[in-house]
């Protein structure tokens, strides 16, 4: 239970943003996170009584972009600022996954979130998260033509 919205954001804001960026890319995801936080601030009296306000706000953010048409190439396709390089087809392949698979794979394997925390942000069970990751990785391997070594 959080007393103030500020405390809640201190502890959970990054996870919320990570989830929405993983699902919708940096531009749309950040905007969705802003919408969700604005909603959270407006409705904090109600949200603070919830068991999982982060998951609730993730769904608020998800709803705010659900009906939008996502442009192609909403995930970054190449490194920025001399960051480590990666396969150019990775971003398009991630965009080819379902939203659930994409957000699960990116949160856990690209952003390094532990399964339990990712499941809380997405408001789903760990087993559901695992299923999405497994399916997403399988599809990525097919799309990118890479073999599995350690899954």
């Amino acid at each position: 239970m959080y007393v103030t919205f500020e405390t809640f954001i201190e502890n959970n804001g990054a996870q919320l943003r990570a989830g929405l960026v993983a699902a919708f890319g940096p531009n749309i995801g950040v905007e969705a996170a802003a919408d969700a936080m604005a909603y959270g601030w407006e409705n904090w009296d109600r949200l603070k009584k919830m068991k999982n306000p982060t998951g609730y706000l993730y769904r608020v953010g998800q709803t705010s972009v659900r009906r939008q048409t996502k442009p192609q190439g909403y995930l970054p396709a190449k490194p920025v600022n001399d960051g480590p390089s990666f396969e150019p087809q990775l971003a398009p392949s991630l965009e080819g996954l379902t939203e659930s698979q994409r957000v699960a794979v990116v949160l856990v394997h690209a952003l390094g979130w532990p399964l339990g925390e990712a499941a809380v942000v997405l408001d789903i069970s760990v087993s559901s998260l695992r299923a999405h990751i497994q399916r997403g990785l399988e599809k990525l391997r097919v799309a990118l033509k890479v073999d599995a070594h350690d899954i």
């Binding site: 954001i9 502890n11 959970n12 804001g13 990054a14 943003r17 990570a18 960026v21 995801g29 950040v30 802003a34 936080m37 604005a38 909603y39 601030w41 407006e42 009296d45 109600r46 009584k49 999982n52 306000p53 998951g55 609730y56 659900r66 995930l75 970054p76 190449k78 920025v80 960051g83 480590p84 990666f86 396969e87 990775l90 971003a91 991630l94 379902t98 794979v105 856990v108 394997h109 690209a110 952003l111 390094g112 979130w113 532990p114 399964l115 408001d123 087993s127 559901s128 695992r130 299923a131 999405h132 990751i133 599809k139 990525l140 890479v146 073999d147 599995a148 070594h149 350690d150 899954i151």
Partner: protein, 512 residues
């Protein structure tokens, strides 16, 4: 001797980590977890090798982000209930998980996908998950419950509710299997499918954007209910029903034939494919024409009038989004589930069939918090419904030696249905029904390019219809066949239908 690498990191994981760094840089704040790879945890195949070290950095960046949010918006504290809390009854949280029931009374396991159960249970729960997510969405979107300030997830997890749905686990499994085994290649193609019970309107199975060759459908997208598309030739039965309800009979003929062209509302000339059947100056009786003859459908719609067709569409529950056309010829945008409900009405003798997912919701004490409307109004003359069905039946059975839906034929059940194929085509479909079940199957290329299948000309009749038949055979395995029966045969010699002057224009030559 060869030594095995103790921590083999394949390229995909390395790429994903690099991608995560880029994603973080692009989003302008710390969103990655601080992780370090130490050693594999044998009990967790997914997170092996990853241990979180610290999240200290997250706090500062989250605060900075919140400051940006506040700075960019003028916010007002809102003590009013949010829009998704519109309500019928209140819900009391009593600390017991809710239960979602299938139409056969079995518990839907998809509320939480549980991979600790046996294989069969796991598969059934995975199959059900998209449907259950849509049930949740429906509860929120339609305000079926007063959530009293709690999130839906909280209410479902702690409210002890009983949610009775129209879901049929066997049908859903059959749908996923038929799509998986169909001739549709994966890649950019996906399949939507929805089945509605023609007697009750229960949505028995619903698949949104399943990737062929997999059993992987979207959990969060609801393209069957939300994605309106051009109905194309599948809109023909609505025009025909309008005509019959206006006094036209199946023996009547239209006083025009051959290719046709019309001006759209914006003034462009819209050329359509003319009748291939009957003399050019006059088509055959309208009962014999095919809905895939676009000039026939256009001229019949012109005779009846767009307003009348729109009213019939509304009666059938079609939430039609109008487009720039002066003709009711299938340019209208319709959600697949609504089209399936309209076809179910034809199967059900003209009674309105409204597709539903949730039958009722009870609280832990058995009090009904929500119950769907069960009244089914007679919206079309039963003879009209039969005539439409007969025409769609002929399209599959090829009674007149022609028809686009022959690949949708079933072994023991009579089938009525219509194909639709868009211009390239990027989308092909078959909407049809037996006496008991109505189903629409849509195969789309999500990138908007032509559907390519080796050795197959892409049409609704060659791609969607066989998939439809394969699935329908599976779900009718334990359903006794019931034939379509004419309520009261009509004797009529037929008359000539003159379409209004001044709408149809001269058909442009090919050089234009």
């Amino acid at each position: 001797m060869t030594f095995k690498n103790e921590n083999p990191r394949d390229d995909l994981f390395k790429d994903l980590e690099a991608f995560g760094e880029t994603l973080e840089t692009s989003s302008g704040a710390q969103i990655r977890s601080k992780v370090v790879h130490v050693k594999k945890k044998q009990d967790d195949p997914i997170t092996k090798g990853r241990v979180r070290k610290s999240r200290t950095l997250l706090v500062g960046s989250a605060l900075a982000m919140f400051a940006v949010v506040i700075a960019g918006l003028t916010l007002v504290k809102n003590d009013e209930a949010p829009s998704d809390d519109i309500a019928h009854e209140s819900v009391e949280l009593i600390g017991e998980a809710s239960t979602v029931y299938a139409i056969d009374g079995s518990v839907i396991e998809g509320y939480v996908v549980d991979d600790s159960e046996d294989e069969e249970t796991r598969v059934r729960s995975e199959n059900a998950e998209p449907f259950v997510r849509l049930v949740e969405q429906k509860i929120v979107d339609d305000g079926l419950l007063n959530l009293k300030g709690s999130s839906l997830a909280e209410v479902l997890q702690s409210g002890g509710l009983k949610i009775y749905t129209g879901y049929n686990p066997d049908f859903q499994a059959a749908a996923l299997t038929s799509i998986k085994n169909s001739s549709v290649p994966p890649g950019d193609n996906s399949v939507d499918l929805v089945t509605v019970d023609t007697e009750t309107g229960a949505i028995n199975a619903l698949v949104s954007r399943q990737i062929p060759a997999t059993q992987d459908a979207s959990v969060t997208e609801n393209s069957v209910m939300e994605h309106k598309r051009k109905a194309g030739d599948a809109f023909g039965p609505v025009i025909y029903a309008s005509a019959l309800e206006s006094g036209v009979t199946s023996q009547d003929s239209i006083a025009a034939g051959g290719p046709c062209a019309f001006k759209t509302a914006s003034g462009d000339v819209n050329k359509l494919v003319g009748s291939s059947y009957g003399p050019p100056e006059r088509a055959g009786s309208i009962g014999e024409e095919l809905f895939s003859n676009k000039c026939f459908a256009a001229r019949l719609g012109l005779f009846v009038g767009k307003d009348t067709v729109s009213k019939t569409a509304e009666l059938l529950g079609l939430d039609v989004e109008t487009v720039d056309t002066v003709l009711p010829i299938g340019e209208e945008l319709i959600a697949p589930v609504d089209l399936t409900g309209a076809y179910a009405s034809f199967a059900n003798g003209g009674k309105k069939v409204t597709p539903w997912m949730i039958d009722r919701i009870e609280d832990p004490y058995g009090e009904v918090l929500y119950e769907r409307e069960k009244e089914m109004m007679q919206i079309l003359n039963s003879q009209t419904a039969y005539e439409v069905t007969k025409k769609l039946y002929d399209n599959v059975a090829q009674t007149n030696g022609m028809g686009t839906g022959r690949r949708a034929g079933m072994e023991n059940h009579q089938v009525a249905g219509q194909t639709a194929t868009d211009a390239q085509p990027t989308s092909v479909s078959f909407a049809g029904y037996t006496k008991q079940k109505a189903t629409t199957v849509i195969v789309s290329n999500d990138e908007g390019v032509r559907i390519e299948i080796e050795g197959v000309n892409p049409f609704g009749g060659t791609i969607a219809a066989p998939l439809w038949a394969d699935y329908m055979e599976k779900i009718h395995k334990n359903i006794d066949p019931i034939d379509f029966i004419e309520p009261k045969p009509v004797e009529d010699e037929g008359k000539l239908l003159e379409i209004p002057n001044g709408v149809e224009v001269e058909y442009p030559s090919t050089s234009e």
